[in-house]
């Protein structure tokens, strides 16, 4: 029995692709002030599309101070007694540099071998169009949506969503919902049916070690003063023990080790470690006692992302520098408090600092905690059921080692849970040259989105109540 809504949506796939191409042709690079026309063109195109499917209260949202790129809002509250879902996407894209690495111009969408190429096509204009055209198909065929839908389409995702917390706070009444369904995100791998259930948080800081008031000549001072590069190296070397554990006392406070069931579940996920590492020219390495996927998904990390000091030009300079620098970030897992974890690392560094050296800590940043969808959350169950229904396979529950600021911001500001339900695939060159979107993902996505809306229509709003933290 064919779903009439899905049939309609699939019939209109050529039109979807045409709108998508027009949208990708708008260079909506939020980071580049010179691209404000591209941003505005993208907004107007999306607004027109939303307006045409009968959405109400179409407007642009900004934080109370009016700053930043506006988010697009609209709603159809068609289904009294049914859940209200806030559907999220973003209309901004990454800068296309380096331009010379693109086979075709980034803002001239080109179809090759079943793929559509262009900046932002996979992240996330393609996945967004799948969500929007699913809604359009319901309106066209049934005259109504099966649930209440609020749309929030952000313009600053690629620049770190600086205005998003303010927008959510300022417009919290308007944005009230039972849960958030994101068209942004990515499926892990083309060969697996999987749903992302968690992401790591992050936090970071910078440090400067100083040992003297000025750079010194290694002939005149070599052997009689501390070298800040040696001091900094010793500090960095002290951050991990020989088993790869982070040594800072208190850093692991709150971390929940993978349960036996979780380890079993993760171990069952098909994962070709050898070829994954061969692809990046590296060898598996990390905390003893955990598998690679456990390390990546369930364990916190601490990495120096940059480190420098002294003479770094060509040739040699016999200098003993007076200062050395490092930038550190950590990835955090559920249970860890970012501030507390960061403080543990800083306290450890202070305790290790030798006499005669001073240390300055600054550049405090990235307070995003980790996020995991509660395992019994109704939206998660609906998403799993929708994928199982459309693929005939039981979806694997996977996580990502990176951070999804959206999920953490939504949780913190609105007290709501988020399910990432994108039909991008993680190999589609996001943020890189030759970004593409598989055309085959459109049918997969439309089927899943039709199905998840139908699943959600079977749930009463009260089932979400235990999970709403407002």
């Amino acid at each position: 029995m064919t779903d009439a809504v899905l049939a309609h949506a699939l019939n209109r796939k050529p039109q979807l692709i045409e709108v998508l191409k027009t949208l990708v042709a708008c260079p909506s690079i939020g980071a580049d002030p010179a691209m404000s026309k591209g941003m505005e063109d993208a907004r107007q195109l999306i607004e027109a599309h939303i307006d045409a499917m009968g959405f109400k209260r179409l407007k642009r949202l900004t934080p109370s101070d009016g700053s930043g790129q506006p988010a697009i809002y609209a709603e159809r509250m068609d289904a009294p007694g049914k859940p209200t879902i806030l559907i999220y996407a973003h209309y901004d894209v990454q800068p296309p540099d380096p331009l010379n690495k693109w086979d075709t111009p980034p803002f001239e969408p080109a179809e090759r071998d079943g793929r559509l190429y262009g900046r932002g096509i996979s992240d996330d204009k393609g996945p967004m169009m799948i969500a929007l055209d699913t809604l359009a198909a319901f309106v066209a065929v049934e005259g109504l949506l099966p649930i209440n839908v609020k749309l929030l389409i952000e313009g600053e995702e690629e620049t770190g969503s600086p205005s998003l917390p303010g927008i959510l706070e300022t417009h919290s009444d308007l944005l009230g919902a039972d849960a958030v369904l994101s068209a942004d995100g990515a499926r892990w791998r083309p060969d697996l049916v999987a749903l992302n259930i968690g992401s790591r948080g992050n936090a970071g800081f910078e440090m400067r070690v100083q040992t003297a008031g000025q750079d010194l000549h290694s002939g005149r001072y070599g052997g009689i003063v501390a070298n800040p590069l040696h001091v900094l190296s010793t500090l960095v070397a002290s951050l991990h023990d020989a088993q790869g554990h982070i040594t800072a006392p208190g850093f692991y406070d709150g971390v929940v080790e993978p349960t036996h069931d979780e380890s079993t579940e993760i171990a069952a996920i098909p994962y070709d470690e050898e070829s994954s590492f061969a692809a990046i020219g590296a060898q598996p390495c990390g905390e003893a006692g955990f598998s690679t996927l456990e390390r990546l998904w369930m364990r916190p990390t601490l990495d120096v992302n940059g480190m420098w000091g002294g003479y770094t030009g060509a040739g040699s300079k016999t200098v003993i520098p007076n200062e050395a620098f490092a930038k550190l970030t950590m990835r955090l897992v559920p249970g860890q408090d970012p501030q507390r974890a960061k403080k543990a690392v800083i306290e450890h560094l202070k305790a290790q600092l030798p006499a005669g050296s001073t240390m300055e800590i600054y550049g405090d940043r990235g307070q995003g905690g980790a996020y995991a969808v509660p395992p019994d959350h109704p939206l998660l169950k609906a998403a799993l059921a929708a994928l199982e229904h459309t693929t005939g396979q039981s979806p694997l529950k996977v996580r990502i080692g990176a951070s999804l600021p959206l999920t953490e911001i939504v949780s913190r500001v609105l007290g709501l849970d988020t399910v990432m339900f994108s039909f991008a695939l993680s190999d589609e060159n996001f943020h890189a040259p030759n970004e593409f979107f598989r055309l085959s993902s459109i049918a997969d996505g439309l089927a899943a989105w039709v199905q998840i809306l139908r699943q959600l229509a079977e749930i009463t709003p009260s089932e979400f109540t235990p999970y709403r933290r407002t």
Copy 2:
């Protein structure tokens, strides 16, 4: 009883200062190809000065391939049966940058408070003029020099003397002598009568640690791959133990620890450690079991002069870099073989390198060994006696922690020993803005140079024979 030669030389001090000012006004910056006229002007001025005092065989020397800045050569073989001394100086100067830090223009010599300011005035045009005008005074008063003198005035000292070994090799017959007396160098401190008897050698290399084929995102790979900045830090941290000893097996091979007498002699040298360290905003630090001056003069060192990897710009980037770099140099002491010491460090690094990382060693440089004048060398004894005669004080024997390529090159190529007999003082801003020369040093220097030549005239060439290694 006044020395007539010295009296003549002192009488002509105003003329010496005038010639010195003219010489400093020549911007003889060997490193800057645009300054070739300054180099040529300096050469011609010096040649005219030498020619006027009746030196023979005045010529310009280059290596056999004719490359580089020529050295000026001339000789007066006035004293059959007396020693032949090669007197060394250089006519090139350091670049004057940063120009805006100079109180008066670097090539417009200016007198203030008993000091003459200008680039190269202390290093070493002032000290060179003292040596030359001493010779001129002998010729003027006695018609002859009391010993045989060969002059070698180099043009590449400030660029590392790349042609000097070739010049010495090509012209080794012409340059044959009993020992080398250098007008270049520096007295340690204005408050001490001291003579430098040794310097440290140096050697260096660069290293690159690689852990993957490409930079990786800390979200996608954090915790599962090695971070080269961590690896490099661990390697650098492993170079010294907690007592400040260098850990590489074999590094100290051949090093002679200070004897009881040497330690006593060094301990007796007036040295205000507290104010020396306060001046550079640092605290004493180094190898346990040795005093600061022992660490600086008698102990080898190993320093990272530069280190870098990953993201070093503003803000944060959650990258795990795939490579990290360091530049290392060591200061070596007599008894150490530079190649062997360097090999010991490299072998240690290789042994510490963890599995999964690769390391490349390159940029091999600085093979200069340490140098010490043999304690009983006739030229050293003559220099000590000259200083004692002119100052009434017994000179302290000091060393420098830096390297003096001249001494090592002369020893290696000509098999001769060198005494540094400069009347510059080490606080006179060599290689820095506002370089100056104390006018009072001229009389001190002329007295000492007259006296050392008289001392040398009392020695027979055969006394040098045991020290000549040709």
